[in-house]
């Protein structure tokens, strides 16, 4: 009996009890997302929109860098930035609109369309990385 008492007072037992109490709550919410937020625990929509937002931030930072250094950067980088401006804006807006359609009518087909539209975001990030490497190489003597 003393052993049982010691076990019940032990940190391991406390952890087990806490985990058991937390399990129903955890099961009711999407992992990693506060369910009281605007996404209401919908991790798929959040992750899709967060991908769009993060891509925009990376692109905006890259274009700001180009804008601030346009006098010294090679013309190829400026042309690349212009291409990104022209293609990224419609791609990001299309992806955002596709997510909006999915939010109003979530279907398996709509989910596939969202995932396909996010490929454009990944492509933009790859292009930014390429241009950044080129601009770094251009600056290195």
């Amino acid at each position: 009996m003393k052993t049982l008492t010691q076990f019940l007072r032990s940190p391991i037992c406390l952890c087990i009890l806490l985990a058991a109490l937390a399990l129903p709550q955890t099961a009711c919410q999407t992992r990693g997302l506060d369910p009281t937020g605007v996404y209401q625990g919908d991790a798929f929509v959040y992750q899709a929109e967060n991908t769009i937002a993060q891509t925009y931030v990376a692109l905006n930072n890259f274009l700001t860098f180009v804008y601030q250094n346009q006098a010294t950067l090679p013309k190829a980088i400026l042309k690349g930035a212009n291409e990104l401006q022209a293609t990224a804006r419609p791609s990001l807006q299309t992806a955002a609109n596709t997510i909006q359609v999915y939010k109003t009518a979530p279907t398996a087909e709509g989910k596939d369309k969202v995932q396909a539209s996010l490929e454009a975001a990944r492509s933009i990030l790859t292009s930014i990385n390429t241009y950044l490497q080129e601009s770094q190489a251009a600056k290195t003597p």
Partner: protein
């Protein structure tokens, strides 16, 4: 098996849970994406959708000639 000892042990266990469970919930909540951060993402995506996010000078074509 002494029932008094069992009840005492269970009471002690429940007391510990009552003491630490709110802290555990708070720690669990800290690991989640907060409503504020979710709102920031949603707001930025709304401005991308409307086109308002593309108004800065960095979004105008750069001269290449």
């Amino acid at each position: 098996m002494n029932p008094v000892l069992v009840i005492n042990a269970l009471t002690a266990g429940i007391s510990l849970v009552e003491q630490f469970y709110p802290q555990f919930l708070e720690l669990q909540k800290q690991g989640l994406v907060s409503p504020e951060d979710q709102a920031k993402v949603a707001g930025l995506v709304d401005s991308i959708r409307s086109g308002a996010a593309f108004n800065g000078p960095q979004w105008k074509p750069f001269p290449t000639e």
